[in-house]
């Protein structure tokens, strides 16, 4: 999960920044009232954004759905809650989702790691709805929940996302 840096902009909103694996610094300015600025910074000049694209609430929702079709359904980070247009734009018909049971095999790279550090959501966009371990069921596990070999995860996501998660858990 990439680290997101948060800066308050008094009277405007919040600025979020993250650096991609390839070293590109991206930013988002969340204005009060729903406007979002999408920023790309130059490696040479960390002070000023090279490119800034202002997005309306509806454009933000459309872009978010393109980037991560599953994210809209679970309500995002809750910050967009006050933003009616953003919530409405991300809603998807239930028919497009896949529900699946995925075992965590012994030797899986994710055995012993928490859901957050495994990056299940951030990589595949899939949500783990419940985890079955032996005879016990753990409904709606939080990001701190630690997966173990032999667990079975009940997941919801796009068909592609679920496929990707199966591959991740197995290799």
């Amino acid at each position: 999960m990439p680290e997101i840096h948060e800066t308050a902009l008094p009277g405007i909103g919040v600025r979020y920044e993250l650096t991609t694996r390839r070293g590109v610094r991206l930013g988002v300015v969340a204005h009060r009232g729903g406007r979002r600025d999408l920023l790309v910074y130059d490696a040479d000049d960390p002070d000023a954004a090279r490119e800034a694209v202002a997005l309306t609430a509806a454009e933000t929702a459309a872009l978010a759905a393109l980037l991560d079709p599953a994210a809209g359904r679970s309500g995002g980070d809750g910050r967009s809650g006050a933003d009616g247009a953003a919530t409405a734009g991300r809603r998807h018909p239930i028919g497009r989702f896949a529900v699946d049971w995925i075992p965590v095999p012994p030797g899986s790279p994710y055995a012993g790691r928490t859901i957050a550090t495994a990056g299940v959501r951030s990589i595949t966009g899939v949500s783990i709805v419940a985890v079955l371990r032996d005879d016990a069921a753990f409904p709606t596990p939080g990001p701190d929940f630690r997966l173990e070999a032999g667990d079975t995860a009940l997941v919801v996501g796009t068909p592609d996302g679920v496929e990707a998660l199966i591959e991740l858990l197995e290799d």
């Binding site: 009277g11 600025r15 920023l39």
Partner: protein, 402 residues
């Protein structure tokens, strides 16, 4: 010119021409990448300065009434802009105590000294200090937006300075306005004490409360009606101002503090948008009124003084931004950008200028002070555009960091 008995027609025709001129001028300046804020001010100055255009000048009574209402609504809207969350964010970004000390020394002092030397008296000097002391939120937002600087590293410092200045104004403005109260020593003392009491009450209300305020226009509570809500807020401001006036307390400070106290309950985005439009409209009317209230004869004298004042107070703001941005960035270009963004004096300066102009006799020294304010606003809002030239900025940055 319009014949006898058609005063209303003449007034309306004149106002129509003026409003169209302001709107077209605002379009032109915005298209050229300039700030539209001083356009109504310039239109007002031109009409009152150019003899043939005097036919466009509304009745003095109309001008005064319009300006007075616009002033109350404008100050209320400025007060509404920033709530407790903004104040806390600003305090976390910049050292507010040092900033205000710096602002007092670099930005308020030049106006104050200038006012004393110009013979405008202690009250005039205090008001001119307010003009040069407070940067314009509107103009700064315009610059940040046009130049796509919301994501820049120095920007939180710029915003924090503006919010902190708005807070400080909550004490400065009511007390400065009280100095202008008409009447004798008793009336002035009443105005000062009343203003001080209002400031204390507002500070207690705004700073002491920690619980979450009630949300105005919270979703689902009732059918949303942002326009009616905004009118209701403006009406409340006028009521409070009227009440204050009846008690002999200056209305300007009360309107401003009423906005500041209510800022926390106005959270609805649609309502904020309507309030923003109301603020723009009242800024334009107030600026137009200020321009119209400066007598033609006062302008040449104000030009030379205003040029000097703008240069000194502009340099002060550049240094203020340079200092405020230091914890966020070491790059000279960023620190200079922060300083230049703070140079424009806008709606707050117009409000102070209008306070002076409305309290001044028709051709008294107060009108000269209003002229000075007008020149200061026009020059400082135009300056960052000229100084925005990248080569010029680089040269200045290297000179400053040496």
């Amino acid at each position: 010119m319009f014949g006898s008995g058609s005063l209303a027609a003449g007034t309306l025709l004149g106002l129509g021409v003026v409003v169209v001129a302001v709107a077209l001028g605002a379009r032109l300046t915005a298209g050229a990448g300039l700030d539209a804020l001083p356009v109504p001010l310039v239109v007002g100055l031109v009409i009152s300065a150019a003899g043939p255009l005097h036919v466009l000048r509304p009745d003095a009574a109309v001008t005064r009434a319009g300006a007075e209402i616009a002033l109350v609504v404008l100050l209320f809207c400025i007060g509404l802009a920033h709530g407790g969350a903004d104040r806390r964010a600003a305090a976390a970004t910049v050292r507010v105590g040092r900033l205000l000390a710096l602002d007092a020394g670099l930005n308020v002092a030049p106006g104050f000294v200038f006012g004393l030397l110009g013979g405008f008296g202690p009250a005039g000097a205090v008001l001119l200090g307010g003009v040069t002391g407070a940067s314009s939120w509107t103009a700064a937002m315009g610059q940040l937006d046009r130049r796509q600087r919301f994501g820049n590293r120095e920007t939180p410092a710029v915003l924090a300075v503006l919010v902190a200045e708005h807070c400080a104004l909550g004490a400065y403005l009511p007390l400065a306005a009280a100095l202008l109260a008409p009447g004798g020593a008793v009336a002035r003392a009443t105005a000062l004490l009343g203003s001080a009491a209002v400031v204390a009450a507002a500070a207690w209300f705004a700073l002491g409360r920690t619980a979450a305020p009630p949300r105005w226009g919270a979703a689902g509570a009732r059918p949303p009606h942002p326009a009616a809500d905004a009118v209701l807020l403006a009406g409340a401001a006028l009521l409070l101002a009227g009440l204050a006036a009846a008690l002999g307390v200056p209305t300007a400070g009360v309107a401003y503090l009423a906005g500041g106290v209510m800022a926390d309950i106005v959270t609805d985005d649609d309502l904020r948008r309507v309030v923003g439009a109301l603020r723009q409209a009242s800024t334009a009317v107030a600026a137009l009124g200020l321009g119209l209230l400066v007598p033609a004869g006062r302008l040449p004298g104000a030009l030379a003084g205003g040029l000097l004042l703008a240069a000194v107070s502009g340099a002060g703001k550049v240094l203020t931004g340079w200092w405020a941005a230091a914890p966020l960035t070491t790059a000279a270009a960023g620190r200079l950008r922060a300083g230049l963004t703070l140079v424009p004096r806008g709606e707050i300066a117009v409000a102070f200028g209008l306070l002076v102009a409305l309290s001044a006799a028709d051709h008294g020294p107060g009108t000269g002070l209003a002229g000075l304010v007008a020149v200061e606003v026009v020059l400082t809002t135009a300056a960052p555009t000229a100084l925005g030239d990248a080569r010029l900025r680089q040269a200045a940055a290297s000179a400053l960091s040496r």
